[in-house]
């Protein structure tokens, strides 16, 4: 039932765009253009990200990830997560599959959450770009305030979920 509603909505969306193009309905055409431009933007990143994730899965040893990002990694795990996040390209939509791969290899939940939030706030190219428009002071305040909060909240959320026996969804079955 839920699946059917989803399909109907998807069909309505596609028909609406096609009809808009045919009838020259401006807002509908803009909707289609927005969809395409975002699709193209993300397709410039995603396939490459997934190839790297695949290579990571076959080459990187589980022990390596466990040692640096797992249960025994302590505070250093967060440092690694933030460094890794700062080099992530794209945005959250890349961070999720990367986080999933790290999780599969034994990274602990709190480190995973820190990685995701950090990849939102401290990607290096983005921060440089931000500083050029809003000033270095602005970027510094954001980093200095958000990073400790990210670490604390991720530690709490991770510990809470770990206690509840939470497992991430399985993607490859």
């Amino acid at each position: 039932m839920k699946d059917l509603t989803k399909r109907l909505l998807l069909a309505a969306y596609v028909i609406f765009i096609i009809a808009s193009v045919a009838l020259n309905f401006e807002p509908g055409k803009r909707l289609g253009e927005n969809f395409l431009s975002f699709l193209v933007d993300m397709m410039k990143v995603l396939p490459f990200a997934f190839i790297l994730i695949g290579l990571f899965e076959v080459w990187v040893k589980r022990e390596t990830v466990e040692k640096h990002l797992g249960k025994e990694s302590g505070f250093k795990g967060y440092i690694w997560a933030i460094l890794l996040a700062s080099t992530t390209v794209g945005g959250l939509y890349v961070a999720f599959p990367v986080a999933h791969a790290l999780y599969n290899k034994g990274a602990r939940l709190s480190v995973i959450f820190a990685y995701i939030s950090a990849s939102a706030v401290c990607r290096v190219p983005m921060t440089i770009f931000e500083a050029s428009f809003l000033g270095v002071k602005f970027s510094l305040v954001r980093l200095v305030v958000s990073i400790p909060l990210v670490i604390i909240s991720s530690a709490l959320l991770g510990a809470y979920l770990e206690k509840k026996g939470y497992k991430m969804q399985q993607i490859d079955t």
Binding site: F50, L52, F96, F113, L134, R142, S153, Q169
Partner: protein, 163 residues
């Protein structure tokens, strides 16, 4: 972006030289996961396109541009707009730059840009596929809280909130 392509290509070549079978396996994993995540990904793109059509940059400029008189209202509007939209930094920050020149307080811009990056209402379908709905909601609520704290701290540092 060029670095990503170069890095992927070099890593892939090195892997191919080192072990053909493993490389093949890696590509198989990559394909499988990529296609598995396509449905929620497309859902997200549809939501993004709808949000972008209803909330174009013009609207963001108009709404936040009015925030120069009432900072706290501006901050709340920034948080809302930042949460329900999604755009790459190369569009968002120039937009913030225009607003700054118009006299919009830093704390409003901080609320907007931080929630834009951290809070993902539109990425919900994708995040849910990896983490489930409960964790997705908790994580985004925490992110919103962090965005609020960052915005207020920005207000203090730039002297926009009276000490």
């Amino acid at each position: 972006m060029k670095y990503l392509y170069a890095f992927t290509l070099v890593t892939l070549l090195l892997s191919l030289i080192a072990d053909r079978k493993k490389t093949w396996q890696a590509l198989k994993i990559a394909c499988k996961r990529f296609f598995k995540i396509m449905p929620p990904f497309i859902t997200m793109l549809i939501l993004v396109s709808i949000a972008l059509t209803f909330i174009p940059n013009k609207v963001i400029l108009a709404v936040l541009g009015g925030g120069e008189h009432n900072r706290f209202l501006g901050m709340v509007l920034g948080l809302i707009l930042g949460s329900v939209t999604l755009m790459p930094g190369f569009i968002a920050f120039p937009l913030c730059g225009i607003l700054l020149k118009k006299g919009v307080p830093y704390m409003v811009l901080s609320a907007f840009s931080t929630s834009l990056m951290m809070v993902g209402v539109l990425t919900y379908p994708l995040e849910k596929a990896y983490f489930g709905s409960k964790v997705t909601i908790i994580r985004n609520a925490i992110s919103l809280l962090i965005a609020i704290i960052v915005a207020i701290a920005t207000g203090f540092v730039f002297g926009e909130i009276a000490r």
